[in-house]
Amino acid sequence: MDLKRTLQACTQVLVDHVEELTELDSAIGDGDHGLNMRRGALAIQAKMADLETKSLNDALKAMGMTCMSTVGGSSGPVFGTLMVTLGKELPAQPASADVARALAAGIAALSKLGKVEVGQKTLLDVLDPVQKVLAAGGGDLVARVRQCALDSAQATAQMDAIKGRASFLGDRALGHVDPGSRSMALIISTLCDTL
């Protein structure tokens, strides 16, 4: 994996989708998700010269801390914690089973942080199915992970929101894709594209 190319692509996809993410959040939240993700993505891009010299693990930890100190809102701690956890749990040269194990640890960390479970219309509803696909392994894995991420984000539209600002809406959140899930799917699908 070319770390610089991957990081550049995964952050740029958020910058490029700022309006879509902001519109999703305007429908069921307060309309700042795209802007917050863009701020974090640009902060990571600004540190690229330093990040590309690091190991995958150290780069993930450094990016996680950058998220926490620049993004704010709930996305900062959530995406930050996920990256820091992956940075701790992944071996230096991870195979798909290693990624599945690290992702399981990430999901556990996020559940604890946000007091949230799978099925509550959050990005866990993308991470959990992706983790299961990775853990099962098999042929065409990258393509299936990519599709699973995109489909799972889309499926959050039919879920009741239990956490976050959308939860205040009750039924009015139905029919809208969760913005955090969409961001997560964009990152995962772009990551798959660069592999």
Binding site: D30, L35, M68, V71, G72, G73, V78, G114, S167, F168
Partner: protein, 329 residues
């Protein structure tokens, strides 16, 4: 978007610099504008720290000063501040008696403050404000939002901290004030987040959003615009139902503008809310009217009622000297 700004990227920085200059007798800015702090911290006093997204001015920086907060952390517009901001603020104003964080119940604020509290190596506690009764689905674990009642918690706990109460006592007082305080708001127009450049939501010229949150996030339902009396009846009625006050109970009444509503109309709402409260036999012991917990330029208001006894009223009346609230000094 028509706003008095230079560049959406620098709105917050320029606003904070202006705020600090305009109120230099009371506050000073922390390094890299991470927080606004009291110019003079009182040794041995519990440090009170709050914060949240910007765009709610004067909340929270406008309440930094004698008798209220020691520091406030401003996040980006409608986005909670980050843990390092809160940590830096706590380390700057802690005066030997610990730190009390006052946090509005929004997921982002909660997570960031929780992380800051974990990293802080000094005694600390957190009061969570969740006064908004608009959301009916209280079975949701996220619970109710924290809105304008935050001002009342910060004022009363701030006065008690100034008197020298200890951390555990202040935490208990804050929780008690939060429990006896309820709010609900209505929006007549949307606000426009500068970086987004367009209104957060579309609303018909003859519609209003009943039970709106302080970020322009939707409330209970969209309804046809109606009279001040009818609006006050629904807002105040919902609050009374939640607080279940006994006749003769004394309360503090806060009628809060969201940023785009003139005082002329807010006073109409004060008059209307007062009639509803009187009808329930509740006595308004103190009034506060103005735009204190705003949503940028959103038109509309919230009503907050806080049940108070003589002790809490004395703390409400105690001297306060901040940019936005000043009496008794």
């Amino acid at each position: 978007m028509k706003k008095l700004i230079n560049d959406v990227e620098t709105v917050l920085a320029e606003s904070l610099d202006g705020f600090a200059a305009a109120h230099a007798d009371i506050v000073t800015l922390g390094a890299e504008r991470q927080f606004v702090r009291r110019r003079n911290v009182k040794p041995g006093k519990v440090a009170l720290i709050s914060g949240g997204g910007s765009g709610h001015e004067p909340l929270h920086a406008g309440f930094v000063g004698l008798g209220m907060l020691d520091a406030a952390c401003p996040g980006q517009v409608f986005t909670s501040p980050t843990p390092d901001q809160m940590l830096a603020a706590a380390q700057s104003v802690e005066a030997g008696a610990g730190v009390l964080f006052i946090v509005k119940n929004y997921s982002g604020d909660m997570m960031n403050f929780e992380m800051a509290a974990e990293m802080l190596d000094r005694e600390n506690a957190t009061v969570i404000v969740n006064d908004d009764v608009a959301v009916e689905n209280s079975t949701y674990t996220t619970g109710r939002r924290g809105v304008a009642g935050t001002l009342i918690v910060e004022k009363i706990v701030g006065a008690a901290a100034e008197r020298g109460l200890k951390l555990a006592e202040l935490k208990a007082l804050g929780d008690a004030v939060n429990k006896s305080t309820a709010s609900m708001g209505v929006a007549l127009t949307s606000c426009t987040v500068p970086a987004a450049g367009k209104p957060t939501f579309q609303i018909g010229i003859d519609e209003m959003e009943m039970g709106v949150g302080i970020h322009g996030e939707p409330g209970r339902r969209r309804v046809k615009h109606t009279t001040a009396d009818e609006i006050a009846e629904e807002l105040t009625g919902s609050i009374l139902k939640d607080l279940a006050l006994k006749p003769g109970q004394e309360v503090i009444l806060l009628v809060n503008g969201f940023g785009g509503t003139p005082l002329l109309e807010l006073y109409v709402m004060v008059h209307a809310a007062r009639k509803v409260l009187a009808g329930a036999g509740v006595k308004v012991a103190r009034f506060l009217t103005g735009s204190y917990v705003t949503s940028l330029e959103m038109a509309g208001c919230s009503i907050t009622v806080s049940a108070a006894d003589s002790a809490t009223l004395a703390l409400w009346d105690a001297p306060v000297h901040t940019a936005a609230l000043r009496w008794g000094v």
